[in-house]
């Protein structure tokens, strides 16, 4: 169960540690460089009024991600 927990399923206002995400693809290389790495603490702040994209807080700043991307990132329970 905990193995397949996705970043997109994080409850509003809660935090979790990133477990893993795809190694390749433009999006994910850039996400790493922006400090979203396995082990990074991430807080889900809010979804946009239409439900997508999502806003997260990590390393002291706010970052947006599409739901589609957040679904590929797993978190530790």
């Amino acid at each position: 169960m905990s193995a397949s927990l996705k970043l997109s399923s994080l409850a509003l206002g809660t935090s979790a540690r990133v477990k893993d995400f795809p190694r390749t693809g433009n999006t994910f290389v850039r996400l790493r460089e922006m400090g979203l790495l396995p082990g990074t603490m991430v807080t889900f702040i809010r979804a946009a009024p239409l439900g997508d994209p999502l806003e997260f807080k990590l390393r002291g700043y706010h970052l947006t991600l599409r739901r589609e991307e957040a679904e590929q990132i797993t978190i530790e329970a």
């Binding site: 190694r23 290389v29 790493r32 460089e33 002291g60 947006t64």
Partner: protein
């Protein structure tokens, strides 16, 4: 040369001794860290703005003075999150720092600016830059905001750890600038104590690539190592015109290692980025301290309203309403002023010069042509001001965040929203605002469809046609407004439809990402916003000026020559006799299926300069001349205009068709000029003219012929 590290002299370029020449600093930092404010604070108005040749990335060079009064040159490089470039902006930053652009001197020293509230992510770029082995000064900006959010940043300790000058700064309040200038004035700067553990798995690849880059690509050893690390972070980084391609040998080595690791299952890029962040986290451990827990920040509180599922829309709607209200009310006054003064200037020239072609060229060609564009300048300035305000406060990113879902339906992302919205007023600032869109294909699609949004230059045409369509004052206002709104709706549907089509066919790309930082809200400095506004407007005038002038003269020539044989020919007779008049006859077979005759054809040709010219051209052609509001007499003249057969020319159906023609057709030389500059060539503006005017013709054909078949 003793104070410069050896690799600077080893680049192969001959450099004069540092004492004799103006030292060049590069200013580098993440987006949203206050870089522009610092650049303005350092250089004041001593800035030169241009373009990097071949790429549409702004090149800003400024000058400041050292403590001893010696000039220092500063290149403000585009904001970047990483040197492993993901956008043309970042590619330019990387290429300049690596000394790979022939058009820009390789900086002697690097000024890195970081945001104190967000040190770890900001230090990532700094960490990559330290690899270059250049003298670096680190500016820690936004110390005030860090304090507010309960963060303590120990500057002295950071300086000790890194071994380079570290300056605490609040660029917005001009704090720390003196200290920074002192550091910049130092004759010699220490090199950073910068060592970090490259992961063992990639170490041999780094060594091999470094050797190949020095041997086959002519890089100095340190730059080669830095570049090897970048190549391993991201294999297919963005390359732009001016980037030197890699040698075959280096590319082969890269491919070899990639295959090797893929077989082995090694996450090479991930481990590199992770070990950099490990080093940074270790560094920050003793430097950043969270002093107590603070509640939600002011930014969080604002966002709770601004991105609220209900209030968020109201705020967005309010901001947009304010924008358009100010464009249509404030802009009116200077527009009328410019209009009357241009007319007065033309009259004055007419009186001061002997009658003749030269005089007419000046008054009817140059003054009225350029004046026609200048009239829109107040609108353009207000739009630039608003766009600057939205960018500088941080609201721009929120608007993109809110609108992303809707924009993604046609394959664009939220960043296209503000450029497209601005195009309702004028496509020029809209197109220039597309520079914030990183993905080149998304940017191009946005540029291509932006002129379909009904801009304010179409209003006079719509108004005239509605007046001709619905004569008499008894027609309810709602009907008139309804028709007007219909035109806006048609244009908007057209823009999104074509965006969808282009993203699926011509400019197919990876699904756009929406990785975007939502920066904290900031109170912008009016000075910075105004400065940006004048800079952008100046850029537009400089770039579009010559093209606008040229086409204005050509259009004047077409309506003036050949001369009517009768010396007392009226303006109406003259234009009918001219090349434009003949062209109207030539294109008549083409536009007759749309219900237009050759006289409308003349209007279509002359209004290629700008859409509103159609109204004055119709005035000349139908013999209604004079200053002031021509709508009423012109409306009556149009109503009496007939085909040679006696049938009415401007039937309601024709009026409607003509309006739709103006919704779609590309009739604006200023836009063509700007698109040419923004896309670096004639290919895309010509494509844009073809597809827009082609669509206009086709849609009008369908409307007119269907209307005729239905008996209208």
């Amino acid at each position: 040369m003793s104070q410069l590290p050896p690799h600077i002299t080893a680049t192969g370029k001959k450099r004069p001794a540092p004492a004799e020449r103006t030292p060049v600093y590069a200013l580098v930092g993440n987006p949203n860290c206050g870089k522009s404010t610092l650049f303005n604070a350092l250089t004041g108005l001593k800035q030169k703005v241009g373009n990097y040749p071949g790429v549409t990335v702004e090149k800003k060079i400024g000058e400041t003075y050292s403590q001893h009064g010696k000039p220092i040159k500063i290149i403000d490089l585009p904001g970047a999150y990483s040197l492993a470039a993901r956008s043309p902006d970042e590619a330019v930053t990387r290429d300049v720092l690596l000394g790979r652009r022939a058009d820009t001197p390789q900086p002697d020293r690097i000024l890195c600016i970081v945001d104190a509230t967000n040190l770890e992510r900001n230090l990532y770029l700094v960490h990559q830059i330290l690899d270059l082995g250049r003298p670096v000064i680190l500016v820690v900006n936004m110390m005030d905001l860090a304090k507010v959010s309960g963060l303590e940043v120990r500057i002295g300790r950071l300086e000790q750890e890194l071994g380079i000058p570290v300056i605490a700064c609040e660029a917005v309040n001009s704090k720390g600038i003196v200290d920074l200038k002192l550091a910049m004035s130092r004759v010699d700067l220490p090199l950073a104590r910068h060592s970090w553990d490259v992961p063992a798995a990639v170490a041999s690849a780094v060594a091999e690539l470094q050797a190949s880059l020095t041997d086959n690509d002519g890089r100095s050893p340190l730059v080669a190592r830095a570049e090897a690390l970048l190549l391993l972070t991201d294999f297919d980084t963005v390359r732009v015109a001016g980037s030197t391609p890699l040698s075959v040998k280096t590319t082969e080595i890269l491919a070899h290692w990639q295959r090797h690791w893929e077989g082995e299952g090694t996450d090479w890029a991930g481990s590199l980025v992770a070990s950099r962040y490990d080093a940074i986290t270790g560094l920050c451990l003793g430097i950043v301290q969270q002093a107590g827990v603070t509640g939600p920040s002011a930014s969080d509180k604002i966002d709770a309203v601004v991105i609220h599922p209900f209030w968020g829309w109201l705020v967005l709607g309010g901001v947009m309403t304010l924008l358009f209200l100010s464009i249509f009310t404030f802009a009116e006054i200077p527009m009328n002023w410019i209009d009357t003064h241009i007319a007065a200037l033309a009259t004055w020239v007419k009186g001061a010069m002997a009658p003749g072609d030269l005089r007419d060229l000046l008054t009817d060609g140059v003054i009225s042509g350029v004046g026609g564009v200048l009239v829109f300048l107040p609108q353009i300035l207000i739009l630039f001001f608003f766009i600057g305000l939205l960018e500088n406060t941080g609201y721009m990113a929120r608007a993109a965040f809110i609108m992303d879902r809707l924009m993604s339906r046609v394959g664009l992302n939220g960043k296209s929203f503000i450029p497209l919205l601005s195009s309702y007023a004028c496509a020029i600032p809209g197109i220039m605002a597309t520079r914030t869109i990183e993905d080149p294909k998304d940017r191009l699609v946005t540029i291509l469809v932006a002129p379909l949004m009904s801009c304010s230059a179409r209003l006079p045409v719509y108004l005239l046609m509605i007046a001709a369509l619905l004569p008499g004052d008894a027609v309810p206002v709602f009907t008139k407004v309804g028709i007007m709104l219909l035109m806006y709706v048609i244009g908007t549907i057209g823009a999104f439809g074509f965006a969808w089509l282009f993203k699926r066919t011509l400019l197919k790309g990876a699904p756009p990402m929406m990785i975007m930082e939502l920066p904290p809200y900031r109170l912008p400095r009016l000075r910075d916003v105004l400065f940006q506004m004048f800079e952008r407007a100046g850029l537009f005038l400089k770039r579009a000026g010559t093209i606008i002038l040229g086409i204005s003269i050509v259009l004047w020539f077409l309506t003036t020559y050949p001369k009517h044989p009768a010396p007392d020919a009226t303006a109406m007779q003259q234009i009918a006799h001219s090349f434009a008049g003949r062209a109207g006859h030539v294109i008549e077979p083409l536009i007759k299926p749309l219900g237009f005759d050759w006289r409308v054809g003349i209007g279509l040709i002359t209004s290629f300069a700008a859409r509103e010219v159609f109204v004055s051209s119709m005035g000349v052609i139908f013999g209604v001349e004079g200053s002031g509001d021509q709508t009423v007499p012109l409306r009556d003249a149009l109503r009496h205009a007939t085909w040679p057969s006696g049938a009415a020319l401007f039937t309601p159906l024709v009026c409607l068709t003509l309006m739709v023609y103006y919704v779609f057709a590309m009739q604006c030389i200023s836009t063509v000029a700007v698109v040419k500059r923004e896309t670096n060539g004639w290919k895309w503006p010509l494509f844009q003219i073809a597809y827009m005017t082609g669509t206009a013709w086709l849609v009008c054909l369908i409307i007119y012929q269907t209307g005729r078949a239905l008996g209208y």
